[in-house]
Symmetry: C2
Subunit: 227 residues, 2 copies
DNA sequence: GGGCGGGCTATACGAGCGTATAGTGAGCTG
DNA sequence: CAGCTCACTATACGCTCGTATAGCCCGCCC
């Protein structure tokens, strides 16, 4: 759909690359389980058997996509941020449209549970933890939790992009929509929303909950999902 | 697993209620598509055919679960918040263990795409928009986007609970883990992380991106105020 | 006490999935 | 030109899914 077979730039790619690109687009859109190898093959304009010929299995194709997406992400970040083409990494997706698809893919991959993107998440938390300790040490006592929440919220916001887009009336994974969303995020990060005293009071009121060790978990016992 | 068939409280429930509870737990854990009717039936201790007898179809069962979860959520919120049993709604899941499962279910339902939970999301955005306009009008110029980002981040954070839990070394959907996460969220909301001047500068630097393709009509902001 | 309704099970069906395998034809190499 | 390689297709297998259907069993009412 996005890139019809007639597209010249599309037909220049090798079949292997077309399959990979189609897989990334479909995985990003519908998730791994929601995408069939036949869908990918149709989108790439090849037969389903060719996926197996080039990648071995659907899972192997997915890992290949993960690696490719991570690699592309790093390359673009290096080029644009380290070379100073964009002042603030938060605005990067506005400057490089391919980033929007990569963000979408990686966010989905985070939800689908992939070892590679989970490691990326952990790296970002470590980076954020360092950054906060260095540039804003006064915002919290618990750097680790603060960093984890920061990264979790940011990636989670992207995971909710459908709903945010609906609320805003514009797709936040377009340049226009992303800029509006990023603007609101900048507001959120630069102005306190809650009165610190009110928060301190609420925190004190909740303190008794922390002690009791039998929370009983009347519902789930989360079976720690493997790497 | 979580509620073995031997559990007395479990066996007191009607088969219909056991099916619904099992479905909510499994849908919350693995998503709708990742759960089979046979899984649910096994978890509820009944035959697969009984799901169809009571609910008609998997999709109808799912809608029934949505409605039940939303209803339970509202009931608990009324009881605890409106009755003043908990000072701050943000800490509610720490005080009522069933909330953690409900949060998990609804978050997953948001990702799976359900009309009912999408409406809940929209309601929360509208509520947040009002709240910000009333209690913190100075934090942004774009109330709508600010509210959407706020709600998207908060629900998105829950969507990323696996990764946040891994980074923290504690399951954030237990009382203990949730309290730690909520503490970090409170820090985030009550202390500015970024220097407003720095943000303003970055925003100005990104301004040219707003109208990338058409060189004319640059700088004109859509200012689209939905709703 | 005999029929009857409904909660419940057993079994089966068709569709769609990932995967396997045999085969085809263009292009290179000697 | 013969022979080989390899990208690529066509077809099919085995499995699991949601769904459909036929029937069992037990409590209830006249």
């Amino acid at each position: 759909m996005a890139r019809p077979v007639g597209d010249p730039a599309f037909e220049d790619l090798t079949a292997r690359a077309r399959i990979r690109d189609a897989a990334i687009r479909l995985f990003a859109e519908r998730g791994v389980d929601g995408t069939t190898v036949r869908d990918i093959a149709a989108q790439a304009g090849v037969s389903p058997g060719l996926l197996r010929h080039h990648f071995g299995s659907k899972e192997a194709l997915r890992e290949s996509c993960d690696a490719y997406a991570l690699d592309r992400l790093m390359k673009i970040k290096e080029e644009f941020v380290l070379d100073g083409k964009v002042a603030n990494a938060g605005f990067l997706p506005s400057a490089h449209p391919a980033m929007l698809l990569l963000y979408k893919y990686i966010t989905r991959s985070l939800l689908d549970g992939s070892a590679g993107t989970a490691a990326l998440f952990d790296d970002m938390v470590a980076l954020a933890e360092q950054w906060v300790g260095k540039h804003a040490p006064e915002v919290t006592d618990d750097y680790r939790a603060y960093a984890a929440v920061l990264v979790g919220m940011q990636s989670g916001l992207l995971a909710m992009h459908d709903h945010v887009s609906r609320a805003l009336g514009v797709d936040v994974l377009t340049t226009e929509g992303y800029l509006r969303m990023a603007g609101a995020m900048a507001d959120l990060y630069s102005h306190p929303l809650l009165d610190p005293e009110f928060v301190a009071k609420a925190r004190r009121a909740m303190e008794p909950l922390r002690a009791p060790n039998p929370p009983t978990a009347a519902g789930t016992e989360p079976a720690a999902e493997g790497a």
